[in-house]
């Protein structure tokens, strides 16, 4: 077990800057998820930690040791790949035991340790089979077992669940979380699935264009996105982001010239960070908007665009001027389906982003 430290790490592939000046500390025993869209640099960051790539600049430390230029085998890490990378010509026993075999552990001891790990992961009966003879979920467990068996200091996961179907993925997610708690090993987990990152990680690192956009625990990242990118990436459906103007003197936020929200009560909160005029973006999560069939004070009119039942909740997409606004309603009965409905924003839970996309306040 060890902490991982990345300091100003940069990796270029020709013209492309895959990882751009990333600084990150993963604490001892912590489970950190690297989250972002394809090409954001999350997998490259993981491969830099593993030693499968060498950075162009910056330094990497595992435990108290600098490993920036060490080959993978000297870093004492274990890695689980997206395709599991089980060798098709070996039985599960030989696959899981391969790290031990390479380290010169005797056959008898190898079998013992593999059996122990495999039983813990409920694949103890399958050790004589080859990878092609077991299911996808079992292959996934076997690849985790191979990572577990040699008791590395650091676990690296490269989208290990994305080849599983939806139901198995949920099972495997719970299993991985349980396992990490039990083993208590430092883990870095790459995923593009924000729900997976939220569910598994102690902290989430959101990346885009090779840079870290936000680091925080899951609830922090979800409830207080540091910029419009994180806001639009976290949550399903993601946060509504509405271009707006602000008129502090009048105490109003104005969308599309016609739609106004009274922010007089929140003037204090916002006046410190912003001034009148320029373009801002108002962010509000779909669950923080309520719908009224009739006009009430402090509501704005909108056109119903689509109503989607999600079982126990409803997703109502409405149109305010040119913008679509998603509203999430936690109720059993169908929401009003009239052409026009009135929206009330929970202003205490809105966020204002500047023209550079960064959170104000």
């Amino acid at each position: 077990m060890a902490k991982i430290l990345l300091e100003h790490v940069t990796k270029r592939f020709g013209e492309l800057i895959a990882v751009n000046d990333v600084t990150l500390e993963v604490h001892d025993g912590e489970f950190v998820a690297l989250l972002g869209p394809s090409g954001c640099g999350k997998t490259t960051t993981l491969r830099l930690i593993a030693g499968l790539e060498v950075p162009n600049a910056g330094r990497i430390q595992i435990g108290e040791r600098e490993v920036t230029h060490l080959p993978p085998r000297e870093r004492d890490v274990a890695m689980v790949f997206q395709d599991y990378a089980l060798y098709p010509h070996m039985t599960l026993l030989d696959n899981i035991g391969y790290p031990l075999k390479v380290r010169g552990v005797g056959r008898r001891e190898m079998v013992g340790r593999v059996t122990e790990v495999a039983q813990k992961l409920q694949i103890g009966d399958l050790l004589q089979r080859r990878p092609a003879q077991v299911s996808g979920g079992q292959q996934q467990r076997a690849s985790v077992a191979r990572a577990l068996v040699h008791q590395a200091q650091v676990f690296l996961f490269d989208e290990p669940l994305s080849n599983l179907d939806a139901k198995l993925r949920l099972e495997a997610r719970a299993f991985l979380k349980h396992l990490q708690r039990e083993v208590g090993v430092t883990a870095v987990y790459v995923t593009h699935d924000q729900a997976e990152a939220m569910a598994l990680a102690d902290r989430i690192v959101v990346m885009n264009y090779g840079k870290i956009m936000q680091i925080g625990d899951p609830l922090q990242v979800y409830s207080r996105p540091a910029n419009t990118f994180v806001a639009s990436f976290m949550g399903n459906p993601p946060m509504n982001l509405l271009p707006c103007r602000v008129d502090l003197a009048a105490g109003k936020i104005i969308f599309d010239d016609d739609y106004m929200l009274d922010i007089a009560a929140h003037r204090e909160r916002w006046s410190a960070a912003i001034s009148n005029g320029p373009q801002f973006t108002l962010g509000i999560r779909p669950e923080h908007i309520s719908i009224s069939p009739t006009q009430l004070p402090g509501t704005i009119p909108s056109q119903v665009y689509a109503v989607q039942p999600l079982g126990g909740e409803w997703l109502v997409v409405t149109q305010v001027g040119r913008e679509l606004v998603s509203v999430r309603l936690f109720q059993d009965e169908a929401p009003p389906l009239a052409e026009t409905v009135w929206l009330r924003f929970d202003l205490a839970r809105t966020f204002l982003y500047g023209s550079d996309g960064e959170l104000l306040q």
């Binding site: 085998r73 790949f81 098709p88 391969y98 790290p99 390479v102």
Partner: protein, 317 residues
């Protein structure tokens, strides 16, 4: 108004496997006929003709040209006459030279060189790779007469490129084709045919997912260990295919004749050259045919062995 189905979906009880093939009807036979006739005239007929000739004493000229006699196994007995068959210019000698030639230029040469080069350039790109691959392929596809002429010029004692270089380095001027004839044609044939092994092994390596190698890297497997535990088992089928094909090709190759003519003193007389000498220099068609039949049997044995191993390999995986 109602139309019939525009197409029948494969999933609606219509099994693609059972659909009659285009070549199963009478029209199909008509389409195949020209090819079948061609194969019959140029491949099957000569086979039986050679087989028949090997039991006669037919020659090009003289009385046995017009009236060949049936001689039974006499031709074969002459080939395998244990008293003299290892003498220079005899069948056993040719077989022995061929065995060394195949071992040297196909198995130790082309296969090992091919595997080494493919391995060296695994997951590498760039000018050097292109240069090596292009050169190898060129050596493979240039017509043999051109290639043989180029090598004659290269190996010439007095004015050859190789000896010019060696002399400049003060290493003397060996007469390659005279003093080291078998070695020369082994190196020549390795150079000539390595492209196939390089290409086959390269594409075999490409099919191995990078994560297999990276897993081994992370675990700490050495280069040799990775080759033994991962690459070799996954490439076994390709290696088997490569070995049998280059063995067959090398066994039957005739190009060295253009360099050495089988000499000096029969030192490079491969079985193919021996057959040629017997049938088309001494015009002993009967004996020549017998050698051809024996060669055919050897080829057949090699191919059968290969098929059996390949099938075993498939069952195992």
């Amino acid at each position: 108004m109602q139309f019939g189905p525009l197409y029948v979906s494969d999933t609606e009880g219509y099994d693609v496997e059972k659909r009659p093939g285009i070549f199963s009807g009478k029209i199909g036979v008509a389409f195949l006929a020209p090819a079948l006739v061609f194969v019959a005239i140029f491949l099957i007929l000569p086979f039986f003709w050679i087989f028949y000739l090997s039991f006669t004493n037919r020659t090009l000229t003289g009385i046995t040209a017009a009236h060949p006699e049936f001689v039974g196994l006499a031709n074969y007995e002459r080939l395998f006459d244990t008293d003299r068959w290892m003498r220079l210019g005899e069948f056993g000698n040719a077989l022995w030279i061929t065995a060394r030639f195949v071992l040297g230029s196909a198995i130790l040469g082309q296969a090992v060189v091919g595997l080494t080069i493919a391995w060296f350039f695994y997951r590498r790109k760039g000018f050097l790779r292109e240069l090596v691959f292009t050169t190898a392929v060129l050596a493979w596809i240039i017509p043999e007469v051109v290639v043989a002429f180029a090598w004659s010029a290269f190996l010439d004692v007095d004015r050859g490129t190789l000896n010019t270089i060696l002399a400049a380095l003060g290493l003397g001027k060996p007469d390659w084709l005279f003093d080291h004839p078998l070695l020369s044609i082994i190196i020549f044939n390795t150079w000539r045919g390595s492209a196939f092994s390089i290409l086959l092994f390269s594409s075999a390596l490409e099919t191995i997912p990078p994560s297999y190698v990276e897993t081994a890297d992370v675990v700490g497997a050495s280069g040799w260990r990775k080759f033994r535990d991962i690459f070799f088992p996954l490439m076994r089928g390709h290696i088997l295919t490569d070995l049998i094909l280059i063995t067959l090709w090398t066994f039957n190759v005739f190009t060295p004749f253009l360099l050495t003519g089988g000499g000096p003193r029969f030192k490079t007389e491969l079985v193919s050259i021996y057959t040629y000498r017997t049938a088309f220099k001494f015009f002993e068609f009967g004996k020549g045919s017998a050698i051809a039949v024996v060669m055919m049997l050897i080829n057949l044995t090699l191919a059968m062995g290969y098929l059996i191993m390949l099938r075993r390999q498939k069952v195992a995986s």
